[in-house]
């Protein structure tokens, strides 16, 4: 039996590596967009897909995700004059804008919060040993999984989504949630442990 921590490592870090050169270019693009909204185009190009997928994960409807994503970028443009570059990719800030937009949407109850659970990714947490490459949930287990996820707090669900369903690195999770990379890792580990406990009575 592997530990939850070991299994967490089986999720590969997504590309979130901005070197100094790329960050400097982005800073220039931000500066230009702060003066002229049309200059935001390359940043929109760079982040559209990731923001859309982030939103889709939480509404699970293609068209609604499209509308919200458009709104997120419009809001981002509106707030951009106040944005202060802090050496972190703009993406972290954009995700927070998206998070606010979604929270507002759910609070107004125009849309219900969805959680798209990727059982294959989550299955990595339950492989019994390193020989296994995948884990298949039975129907009963899937029902238990739903119940277990319902027991999680919203912040815990957010961590599971970011890490396992969206394949984000701890660095990126930390930037989005305004945590240190290590703290994001520790918190995620605790949630995984809790989830395993709920499912496996550990």
């Amino acid at each position: 039996m592997q530990t939850a921590e070991q299994n967490m490592k089986s999720v590969s870090d997504s590309a979130y590596h901005y070197n100094d050169e790329k960050l400097a270019l982005e800073a220039q693009q931000i500066k230009a967009a702060q003066k002229d909204p049309k200059a935001f185009a390359p940043l929109y190009e760079a982040y559209f897909m990731r923001i859309y997928r982030y939103v889709w994960q939480r509404v699970t409807d293609d068209a609604i995700a499209g509308d919200i994503t458009s709104q997120v970028f419009a809001k981002a443009l509106q707030k951009l004059p106040d944005y202060k570059y802090q050496g972190v990719p703009l993406g972290a800030w954009l995700f927070r804008v998206a998070q606010n937009e979604l929270n507002q949407l759910f609070r107004s109850r125009k849309n219900k919060r969805s959680i798209a659970v990727d059982t294959e990714q989550l299955g990595h947490l339950f492989v019994a040993d390193e020989e296994e490459t995948s884990y298949t949930f039975s129907d009963n287990q899937k029902q238990d999984l739903i119940e277990a996820i319902r027991e999680l707090k919203p912040a815990e669900i957010e961590l599971i989504e970011l890490r396992f369903f969206e394949q984000r690195s701890f660095k990126e999770i930390g930037d989005i949630l305004e945590l240190t990379e290590n703290n994001a890792k520790v918190k995620t580990f605790r949630v995984v442990k809790k989830l395993r406990g709920l499912l496996l009575d550990e």
Binding site: S108, R109, S114, V117
Partner: protein
């Protein structure tokens, strides 16, 4: 503790859109258009300023200027704005309420944190903010003007709409709160949430439309959405009677005035004029009602010239005089007739001719008796009310007979413009921002129990699996709720005047009161009945509209 609403929908292995499908939604021009349509970003320090554009200002009252510790008057330039609160406001404590887009509004105040301040809200509650009690994120007293937001939940329907849970957990079991009133208090400076200094709690003195002598204070744990017990008993002041339009002192003054009027009326009882003597001369003279009300009140009054007026001759009565003057002289009147240099004076007695006297006598007695009775009645009312007030104040008891409609009606008739409300004032020392209430835990209902099945009025044979049902006991204005895990078994007090509603598929459903009454009767015999629900019409967008729909 389960949340009533907003449960996320969990989808296992939902089909994610491909990159090509996602790119269909990529449209930078649309983003630019959306951006152009958005208003400029908010820069205001005082949130009420930038909210004002998009909100309905339904009340505007300034308050307070008081002297507390410093002894210096505090001038509040604070407008009270009842407004929707933007989602970006920090430290939101409550989840969305059960009805989409319907929120109980906040009142928003600006507080100068270095000074003692007492805020009087639109609902006449008081928020007492000691100087330097507001701490910033570094736990030091903030020096920046603070925005204080207060939301009074004083009506059961507001409670329902606010998202506050009407239950609490005790050893893992859901218990019902018998909620009558609650409030949410929060504060921030420049969008940074503030805290309250431990040694300087903020006092909230708030009114309940309910008489009671004690209560328990609960604070909402906003993480678990569970009410947590705080204090056993709170201070409950006891002005059971309120006189919004007249103070106790004014009432006493009014009684004294009535005493005087009554004494004067008895002392100066007007005399009914005597019947005229047939063999004495009589003059018909119009008199000024203001100058001689005691005789002007009688129609066709005459002056009888007494036999002592030896110089009077009948022809004097038929002459045209330049002027006639009348002067009261003890129980008679002195008449002066003037024409050029000629002047004649006679003493006369006001009389009524025989044909008028009997009629006037009857009317006079009737009117006088009524006047005396009216004054006596007014006095008695005041004596009764004063007695109530004085007893209440002296004994410090919450009890009243002012709901006596007979008394209220009588008072209206007497134009005292008094309104009596049965009110209790609770005081809570708030040591942390959040959601507080003073309430009594739900008492087990003594009554008949029945299993309810719910159906819509247009499909009475199709039963709905409603998750939670809300009740209001209209007599004590307390709301409680029950949920379906209890197998739809509800204990009903058949003697209560209950109102019932629920939310099903995000739609407000309401049990018609008449149907509900019918149910109660049936429950007594069968213990199992269908409750027919009526759906709320579309477009209920405010608490007042929902109250109107619920008829409460």
């Amino acid at each position: 503790m389960k949340r009533i609403m907003n449960k996320p929908e969990i989808k296992l292995d939902a089909q994610k859109p491909s990159d090509e499908q996602v790119l269909q939604y990529k449209n930078f021009d649309a983003v630019l258009s959306n951006h152009a349509a958005l208003s400029p970003p908010a820069k205001a320090v005082r949130p009420w300023k930038f909210w004002a554009g998009g909100i309905a200002v339904v009340a505007f009252v300034a308050t307070l200027c008081v002297v507390l510790l410093s002894g210096e008057p505090i001038v509040s330039e604070t407008p009270v704005v009842i407004a929707d609160v933007p989602q970006t406001t920090p430290n939101t404590y409550l989840p969305a309420g059960p009805i989409a887009d319907v929120e109980v509004p906040y009142e928003v105040f600006t507080v100068v944190p270095g000074r003692d301040t007492v805020i009087k809200t639109a609902s006449a509650d008081e928020i007492i903010v000691p100087a330097n009690s507001l701490l910033d994120e570094n736990e030091i007293p903030t020096t920046v003007d603070a925005t204080l937001m207060y939301r009074k939940i004083g009506h059961p329907v507001d409670y329902f709409l606010s998202g506050m849970p009407p239950f609490y957990a005790q050893e893992g079991i859901e218990q019902h709160m018998n909620v009558q009133s609650a409030f949410e208090l929060r504060a921030h400076s420049e969008m940074v949430p503030l805290a309250i200094a431990a040694d300087k709690p903020i006092g909230v003195r708030y009114q309940l439309q309910k008489l009671r002598t004690s209560a328990t204070v609960y604070r909402l744990d906003t993480t678990s959405l569970d009410w947590k017990f705080e204090k056993d008993v709170i201070y409950v002041s006891t002005p059971a009677l309120q006189q919004p339009d007249i103070s106790l002192e004014q009432l006493i003054a009014k009684r004294e005035t009535l005493d005087n009027q009554l004494a004067q009326l008895k002392r100066n009882k007007p005399q009914l004029p005597e019947q005229a003597e047939a063999d004495l001369p009589h003059l018909r003279i119009d008199v000024d009602a203001k100058e001689f009300p005691e005789i002007a009140a009688f129609e066709n009054i005459h002056f009888e010239i007494g036999p002592e007026n030896t110089g009077f001759s009948a022809d004097l009565g038929s002459r045209d005089w330049d002027d006639v003057k009348i002067k009261k002289q003890e129980d008679k009147y002195l008449l002066t007739f003037i024409q050029s240099a000629d002047k004649y004076e006679f003493t006369a007695t006001p009389v009524l001719l025989a044909k008028d006297h009997a009629k006037a006598k009857a009317a006079f007695e009737k009117e006088y008796t009524a006047a005396i009775k009216s004054l006596e009645a007014k006095k008695q009312l005041l004596v009764d009310v004063l007695k109530e007030l004085e007893e209440t104040h002296q004994n410090n008891l919450v009890e009243s007979t002012v709901s006596n409609s007979q008394l209220a009606d009588s008072l209206k008739e007497n134009d005292l413009a008094m309104q009596f409300k049965a009110t209790t004032i609770d005081y809570i020392a708030v040591d942390d921002f959040g959601v507080w209430c003073s309430a009594a835990p739900y008492s087990p209902i003594v009554g008949k129990k029945a299993v309810l099945s719910f159906a819509l009025n247009d499909a009475p044979q199709t039963f709905l699996d409603v998750e939670r049902v809300y009740f209001v006991n209209k007599m004590d204005r307390a709301m409680y709720s029950m949920n379906s895990p209890q197998k739809n078994a509800y204990a009903i007090d058949t003697e209560s005047d209950l109102l019932l509603w629920t939310v099903y598929n995000d739609e407000l459903l309401y049990c018609l009161e008449s149907d509900f009454m019918a149910f109660q009767k049936e429950a007594a015999t069968t213990g199992k009945v269908a409750v027919i629900l009526k759906k709320a019409p579309d477009g209920l967008n405010s608490p007042s509209e929902i109250k109107q729909f619920l008829g409460f």
